[in-house]
């Protein structure tokens, strides 16, 4: 640690005002503060400060995503070998490593490209590097299909960071969740790589291998949307042995992450709880009116027990890790109830009613991101009106 300190101190003069690399000070600062929380002390206001900072907050969210990430790696390998009929003969490690070889490059590309763009913006604007992308960089690969080409991932990341975040002023200023912006971009720009029943399981074969007969790579939601037969049990869905985006499949692993976020208080329990209530409400409405459906496929989907909707697709992952993004969610405590409820409500509505987008949670969250300032506006306005009313009663008396 003394070594790092010495290295930082020795290169520091180059980055300071007048140094050769003065322009790149934000990059130096980013690395230096990553290694050492700077020891500067309070010079105005309160003399003691909470030990929490944005780095700590972000890293806690990353920890919460790790179970889903690790499971996603194993699951990708497991599905691959299942498609080839080799699931029985391969060991746990074989499957995990196969997945890791696919997923780790995606992580590297996501972080590399995303942080690169952030650095460029910070250098241009002379800002400090803020930590927001640490979470987005991990989220983006987790919500992509395993076979997405790396260059598409890179372009999606660039789009998300530039259009989703930096044009608004960077971390803390964005309207949409950057990770979902990346996914929405990829979804609409490269639909053949982002939807359908071919993209969720890698079926590339080596010499002597072949895909088993009768194999289907459709997701559970895809099956429902097209009226196909669902080939996975409820337990499979809950544990996550199903096709889907890398990190979203296992409700169990998402729940582990949710436990971390809720326990530390970093994820809003109000959003998660009301989101689940909203989804259940929509699910129950569908159950009630299933008989009026316009097609048999739709009827089958509407009749799915409301609670089962919670463990299908990306609902759990979205409501836990992305609806709770404090920047793009509602910011008032009362607003969070409304925001969460509507995210859950619309996620199920879009999923069932629109077969073109079997994954409703992405669009539901993005839509509610846009609506969140409106919700906050009315919540704050209610507070203002209360104050004005109080003034009016005092004046009248």
């Amino acid at each position: 640690m003394k070594l790092f300190k010495n290295i930082l101190d020795s290169v520091k003069p180059h980055f300071e005002a007048g140094g050769k690399l003065e322009k790149y000070y934000p990059v130096y600062d980013g690395f230096a503060t990553f290694l050492f929380t700077p020891g500067h002390t309070a010079h105005s206001g309160a003399h003691v400060r909470d030990a929490i900072d944005l780095k700590r907050t972000m890293v806690t969210v990353i920890f919460a995503m790790i179970p889903a990430l690790l499971f996603g790696m194993w699951n990708a390998g497991n599905l691959h070998y299942s498609a080839l009929g080799l699931a029985e003969s391969m060991t746990f490690m074989d499957k995990f490593l196969w997945g890791a070889i696919k997923v780790v490059p995606m992580l590297i590309v996501s972080y590399g490209v995303g942080l690169g763009v952030e650095f460029i913006f910070c250098i241009i604007k002379g800002h400090q590097i803020q930590e927001g992308f640490l979470v987005s960089g991990m989220l983006i690969p987790l919500i992509m299909p395993i076979d997405l080409p790396l260059w598409m991932l890179a372009i999606s990341v660039i789009f998300a960071v530039v259009i989703g975040k930096e044009v608004f002023g960077g971390t803390g200023m964005n309207i949409l969740n950057p990770a979902l912006t990346a996914r929405a971009f990829a979804f609409f720009a490269y639909p053949t790589y982002m939807s359908g029943d071919k993209v969720w399981i890698n079926t590339s074969t080596d010499a002597g291998q072949s895909v088993v007969d009768g194999f289907s790579g459709a997701t559970v939601l895809g099956d429902y949307a097209t009226g196909g037969e669902v080939q996975y049990s409820t337990m499979d869905m809950f544990l996550g042995f199903i096709p889907g985006s890398i990190g979203e499949t296992s409700t169990l692993m998402v729940l582990v992450g949710a436990a971390i976020l809720l326990y530390t208080g970093i994820g809003s329990w109000k959003i998660m709880f009301s989101g689940v209530i909203g989804a259940l409400a929509m699910g129950l409405i569908f159950n009630t009116f299933a008989e009026y459906a316009i097609s048999p496929e739709q009827q089958a989907f509407m009749a799915v027990p409301a609670w089962q909707q919670l463990i299908m697709g990306g609902f759990a992952f979205g409501i836990v890790f992305m609806a709770t993004d404090p920047v793009s969610a509602a910011q008032t405590e009362r607003g969070k109830w409304i925001y969460g409820f509507l995210v859950g409500f619309f996620a199920i509505a879009i999923r069932v009613f629109n077969p073109a987008y079997p994954e409703g949670i992405m669009l539901a969250i993005l839509f509610m991101n846009v609506m969140a300032p409106l919700i906050d506006h009315y919540v704050v306005q209610a507070n203002i009106n209360k104050r004005k009313k109080r003034l009016a009663t005092v004046k009248a008396a």
């Binding site: 290694l35 929380t37 020891g39 002390t41 309160a46 803390g172 404090p326 003034l391």
Partner: protein, 450 residues
């Protein structure tokens, strides 16, 4: 009286170095200073020059925009130095005190037999008006107004604060006389905010006042919190706030005719060897109080408490309203992967660190920021420590964009820096909350006047 109002939001930061309830004897400080920076929103004009002799209670400077408000000398002696900063702004007026303090006699009187104008005139004449503050803006009260109510909080809930019952002991009569004087100044009531956790001293039971008891974590002892819980301040209303020890000083004026500016100051904090109470005069130099009683280390000396106090040097002067002198370690070392470390000996209300496992441990906190300033990201954390029906982040944002109408709508009239100090402490993004609020209050004051 018996009904206790619960303040639910807030947090008590438990620090090491709580003072024992004993008065310590230290050498009497020889120099005293008045600092214009203790009085925001006021332009000062000097009435004395270096070398002048003054008696305690003689005016040192006055408010340029309201000449009736003068600032009396806390001690008698010679004006030793006028310390000026940029643009010749006055930083300190230092007085070399006489051994035996001589007082200007303003005449003793029973406040209940005086009219409102006579009470007011006496306080103004003795240079003691700055002891009375007002909401909105948390500035010295405008003597031309009649306040809706006057509020006296009779306990301090801040970390390591002085114990009100201990301080008032022996000065019960002065306190009650002071309250009677204040009762002449309002058409409303004088409200007393009492500690609901203990059985408050008999001294605080003054006939004619309205007493409220409050129970809860800091900032339950702040007058702003108490006023909000009982009768919030509306646009156009003024409530005056007076500190408990300031009431005692006003009481002395009416009992003896003198500006006797002595107060009890608690010397506390982890770096203090023997944390005790001291009887000193407003604006005292702290050198003699600290001598031989603080750890030999890089210390931070704070006039006031760790939340709202002012950093001073080890030879600096107490600020006008402060009853507390706190000494904590300065800190300032870089922390290797500080954002990943367990940070067990630091304070946090977040469970992302592990401090919540020992809620009763007394901490030895230094002045480290523990992170860098960022944009607002985390939501809902201010709300945990801000016991007002006000949206704190939205209020701060309205100040940042200088939207006066929004500030007004969002309730800026009710809050003072001290009420939002805990928001600043817990802020993940290290936003300078108190300075920002002060900017907003100053802006409103400039636009609308007091």
């Amino acid at each position: 009286m018996s009904e206790v109002i619960k303040i639910k939001k807030g947090v008590d930061i438990k620090l090491q170095g709580e003072a024992e309830k004993i008065y310590a004897s230290a050498d009497t400080p020889s120099t005293y200073a008045l600092k214009p920076s203790d009085f925001p929103g006021i332009r000062m004009k000097l009435k004395v020059k270096e070398g002048d002799e003054v008696l305690a209670g003689d005016p040192i400077f006055f408010n340029k925009n309201r000449e009736s408000v003068t600032f009396g000398a806390p001690v008698s002696g010679e004006i030793a130095e006028v310390v000026r900063g940029e643009k010749r702004r006055i930083l300190e007026v230092r007085i070399l005190a006489d051994k035996e303090i001589r007082y200007r006699d303003y005449g003793a009187a029973d406040p209940t037999s005086l009219s409102r104008d006579e009470v007011k005139g006496k306080i103004l004449e003795a240079g003691m008006w700055p002891l009375i503050k007002q909401r909105p803006y948390n500035i010295i009260a405008n003597p031309d107004r009649v306040p809706r109510d006057i509020w006296v909080s009779c306990f301090d809930s801040a970390p390591l604060a002085a114990d009100a019952d201990f301080v008032v002991h022996g000065q019960e009569e002065e306190f009650q006389t002071g309250i009677k004087a204040l009762m002449q100044l309002t058409d409303g009531k004088v409200h007393l905010g009492l500690d609901g956790k203990t059985n408050p001293s008999e001294a605080f039971k003054v006939n004619g006042t309205v007493m409220h008891r409050f129970n809860g974590p800091h900032p339950a002892g702040n007058p702003g919190v108490q006023i909000h819980a009982v009768a919030p301040i509306n646009k156009g209303e003024t409530v005056w706030t007076v500190g408990m020890q300031e009431v005692i000083m006003l009481g002395r004026l009416f009992k003896s005719g003198k500006f006797d500016a002595q107060r009890s100051v608690v010397l506390a904090g982890a770096q203090v060897n023997k944390p005790r109470y001291h009887k000193v005069i407003v604006g005292a130099n702290v050198k003699t109080l600290l001598e031989g009683n603080v750890a030999d280390a890089k210390n931070r000396y704070i006039s006031g408490n760790v939340l709202t106090g002012t950093q001073i040097s080890s030879e600096g002067y107490l600020s006008y309203y402060d009853n507390q002198l706190t000494v904590i370690p300065e800190g300032g070392e870089d922390a290797f992967f500080g954002w990943l470390a367990p940070n067990l000996n630091r304070f946090s209300i977040s469970r992302a660190l592990f401090n919540w496992m020992m809620p009763n441990k007394r901490l030895n906190l230094d002045a480290n920021m523990n992170g860098e300033e960022r944009a607002f990201v985390v939501t809902g954390e201010y709300e945990k420590v801000f016991p007002f029906e006000i949206y704190p982040v939205q209020l701060l944002k309205s100040i940042m964009v200088k939207d006066i109408e929004a500030m007004e709508n969002l309730g800026i009239y009710e809050v003072a820096e001290e009420d939002m100090a805990l928001c600043e402490v817990v802020c993940t993004s290290k936003i300078p909350v108190q300075d920002t609020l002060r900017e907003g209050l100053d802006l409103m004051l400039n636009e609308l006047g007091d």
